[in-house]
Symmetry: D5
């Protein structure tokens, strides 16, 4: 089941650089592991913003939430979730 | 080059049913042809709304605009475009 | 799987009364049938508005969308969908 | 009498972890006690957000306010209240 | 129980003058009757707008909704309801 | 002359409790004194929010401003003022 | 007593030209008469918009409302009123 | 050339009182000097807010900006500029 | 003097095609004539929208308004004007 | 390929003056170097705001993002990107 997720990151400007580096390293590892399992199906950077648009493919709302609130950056993010489904005009097998 | 496009459709309620059916048939054909060329890379329906979220892969802004304003539903749509790029944490070859 | 759905109804003021009555009768029958199956789990009127807040319990995003766009009032509604899940503090068995 | 309540939590990022743990423990106990009395009739987590949607069943506006401003997290919450009533199409006995 | 109600009126500009006059006459009679019963406790015009701010004193959400959707102007109004209660600093006996 | 005033309070979460208690005590005394003079004609709490809706009866805009910016909580408030007048359908002598 | 008033005009595009010309002529006469009495103290056009920003000097909220709802364009306007007073730094005698 | 300028002031609540007093004194002197030259043509306080609405009469956009960013409170202000011109219905010689 | 102007076009869907073609032809001629004089310095289409972003170089606010309200599409446009000036970091001679 | 970029700067008020001066010096050098290469084609200050509107001419979305996130002020900016293309009415050779 697919979900469109937009994540905006707002790091407090006075967070120690070392802490930031540590969080970002863990965030990257966490994201890539989920991408490899297929649950985090797509991720794109939005031009000019510290933000991404992602597509998740999960079993249900609960699994989506557990994945999102496990993000190392979760407490610094504003996240908006939009439920998706196969479009009646879609031709690609993997657009659902 | 990738773009995130959100299209909201607002058909006037008093448009004759026959006109609507004609526009929708042409819209579907137009969309599927572009999907097959790979320029309209993804399309998903938003649950509960007459709206879609799409990913376009085009040469430049100009090509994107020509494709969008050629949509049979264009005059009945509110369209928002967001330029995307490969995310530094992306692992899939086709997320750029 | 639970979804929070808010439906605002905006009937064009010049719709013939007979058409309105017909739509509303079909809407009620449609809603009550879905409530009896358990898929439309709750429905409440918002005080002072021609709007409702509902909780749907469906298999997935696709089923939710099919149920919503089958509403006789669908073309006159503004619908917002919010995916829900069991709250970690919930005590009721049926809050998930 | 039913009310729809949406609670968004925004904890300052520099609140000591121990304080946070203490508040959350008291919040959970407070919520569960009210759920057991039937006054906090439903509570659901919103997917991807530190937020919940709840239904309260109280005697009047005053009781609702006293319950909400007694929340241990109250000063860190943005709360929106919407008064509800039985929908004319409702079939469930407990949707009012 | 008190509610703050803001009503904005938007009459279609092409409604026949006679229909408008009829609706407004019925609206005034309806409002004054409710004011005399004490249920519509206050009503004020907002300067420069075809809008009013009112205070209702009703038994519950349901009664409030029945009164509001009985307004002859209801289908031409945008109504926002805010539940009120006695303020801890209030000194007037009738501010609750 | 009547004004509708909505006051939202936002206290910084790290303000010392003693300072808060002092401000609130002065705020209450200030409000009650003005209520007794009749200038602060009504005050109601909004359910679920640290906010109030008030009606002021003052000589002019200037007096209203002097009363509001004298509030001990003024620097922690977001205040919105709406000028009111007697509604043509009003029946109560004191709704103007 | 001074008020800041912003008026946005939205004429239906299918209003007969003759009707528009008639309304605009009456609007101009009405405005100029009020300007000459000093009650409509200032009026400026906003660059690029069918809108104006005005300053009214009236006895009270009631007089302001009567003047505004007497505007021939009133039913085609969106009007926002902001109450003003003398600024403590003002040096001009007529800024109050 | 005339510009409508709205200035909202948001002083950080923990700015030392002495610093605030110093800034406000310099702000007042700066404003009054510009008012006397005629470049800051009008200034009014908005009732209930730490904000003003002003009219500037300057040679061009550049001069307007230099005057505004020279304000001692500039870094604590949210400023919105609207270009004005003589209204075709204006009768006062100095409304342009 | 430079101004940033954003123009959104909203043609009523039931405007006769012949009228639309006539307006668009006159709009194009009007725009190109102003571009050749240098007053309409830049014009760009926004991807995916019936809208443009333009830079005008005019003598003052009044000239800007006369040019804009002379647009054949003016009554079908939503126009937002932002006054610009030379940026202190600009290196191009013609960025002012 | 052209992009419209609006950059709003929000420096924390307690950033040490020396740090601010250093960032601004590096920002200016960075901007001017990109302007000289032609990639940052235009930059204008918005009157009354610590903000600019710029036009970038880059190879693709990716290059735009790399240039923007390399800005020394990037972490203190709110950036909005709008993709542009040649307008069908444009007459200047360099408006595309």
């Amino acid at each position: 089941m697919l979900f469109h997720v937009r994540m905006n990151v707002e790091l407090p400007h006075d967070l120690p650089e070392k802490d930031v580096a540590d969080i970002l390293q863990r965030e990257k590892a966490y994201s890539q592991e989920l991408q490899r399992t297929g649950k985090w199906r797509h991720i794109w950077r939005i031009a000019g913003q510290y933000a991404n648009i992602s597509i998740f493919d999960v079993a249900d709302n609960d699994e989506l939430h557990q994945l999102l609130c496990g993000l190392p950056l979760f407490k610094f993010m504003d996240i908006q979730v939009t439920p998706l489904l196969r479009h009646p005009s879609a031709v690609r097998a993997d657009d659902s």
